[in-house]
Symmetry: C2
Subunit: 225 residues, 2 copies
DNA sequence: CCAAAAGTGTTCCGTCTACACCCATGG
DNA sequence: CCATGGGTGTAGACGGAACACTTTTGG
């Protein structure tokens, strides 16, 4: 309880973004090769320093906006990482944030400008510093949260088929799900709405498109954040 | 991904300790009145600044040791809190840690020296800055974790009765539990060992004392962190 | 002898799991 | 006409929830 600012030292604080996407039935992560020292050339998460005039959340949102051009992204704090020499250059404490975006919403030109790529979670290389640890923690959180929070929709377009949704669940949980049991479960959730639209792209027969109804969800007490 | 240290500003980083204890069948929290500005006189968690030569975990452990004289305490990160003016004096980003201790292990003289008190979670006053938020998040985490991690033992002496254990669960979950169902559940967990000892303090009849067997737990795959 | 806490089983119900076949259509 | 993905129901297993009485003994 002894806090006399003057006696203490300040440190750099950064945010690192763990950006998940879903494509080709796989969970993907947005990573790039570091273009500066230390760690030049190593695979790394995208991050940035926290400014004086912004909160941690604001810093994370700004960084995500810079990277993707997207606002109002689903985002959760993963945790603070503060090993002494986690950054070989200077003492930097970082707060990791996990974000979920729809790959299709992300302008590919912007992606290239930032020199980042979608890499399958299954084939994730060794990342800079403690970034693998952050990703592991984020995945762990996703798995825990997927059944108590409507995450999955953030990885899909507004309209999606049940098969697509199932693939998202499978990618996050890392295991196959029985189709009938899955659909039964989904039907019992009333904020997942059937629409009149039919998707004819992925199947010849055509699949009914569903939609996440935010208002219905707000009224639903079974799920809680 | 643009990180040129020099251009960026540093901030103070502190750790705040949410210390839970269990006494009189209630969850208690260790809080004290701030003895410095800003916020002098307000109830507050115990905290301290992170030094240059220590990690976040080390800072939290050191702070806990200073406060309690105890080492090897059960501790988990709750999260980072970084609103711009959460500290009215200076920009301070804090990382909250939650700790569980056995009230009996804590020297009461040391407690008084630090000017902190055990306050029932049910009667928690308004705390300094965003500390109530931290506590709420910590309680939330405890509730989630209690069924997937052997937390409760950290709040009890080495030997405890099933009734005591049940009271810990009830205090954390904030609801009553059926005695028979609880005992059935506990009996199916093999790292909770019956001992030959009998407690004659709290009941006339006497209650069997149990113990948490760490080695058994390590072998048990049903529970996972 | 009685108050106070310890200890003990069974039944029911809802949820999860396993499992296989027909449908519609574009090419 | 057939390959491809879409769509559907049922039976058994399992786990959680409800529920009440007997035992022991210190005072």
């Amino acid at each position: 309880m002894t806090r006399y600012y003057g006696e203490h030292s300040k440190v750099f604080v950064s945010v690192d973004c763990i950006v998940f996407g879903f494509d080709q039935d796989q969970l993907k992560l947005l990573i790039g090769k570091r273009q500066m020292d230390p760690g030049r050339g190593e695979w790394s998460l995208y991050g940035g320093f926290v400014r004086e005039d912004e909160s941690l959340e604001e810093a994370a949102n700004r960084t995500l906006y810079t990277l993707t051009g997207l606002r109002e992204i689903y985002m959760r704090q993963v945790g603070a990482f503060g090993a002494i020499d986690r950054d070989p250059g200077e003492r930097v404490i970082t707060v990791a944030y996990c974000a979920l975006i729809n790959v299709k919403d992300y302008d590919d030109e912007l992606r290239k400008e930032h020199g980042v790529e979608w890499v399958s979670l299954n084939q994730l290389p060794k990342l800079y510093s403690d970034h693998n640890e952050m990703v592991a923690k984020a995945v762990h959180q996703l798995r825990r949260r997927i059944n108590s929070e409507p995450l999955s929709f953030n990885l899909l377009p507004d309209l999606f088929t049940l098969t697509q949704l199932q693939h998202v669940y499978e990618a996050i949980l890392g295991e196959e799900i029985d189709k009938r049991n899955f659909r039964k479960r989904i039907k019992s959730i009333d904020f997942i709405e059937k629409t009149e639209h039919i998707d004819k792209v992925t199947s010849k027969r055509g699949a009914v498109l569903y939609r996440f109804n935010k208002k219905m969800f707000a009224l639903d007490s079974t799920f809680r954040l």
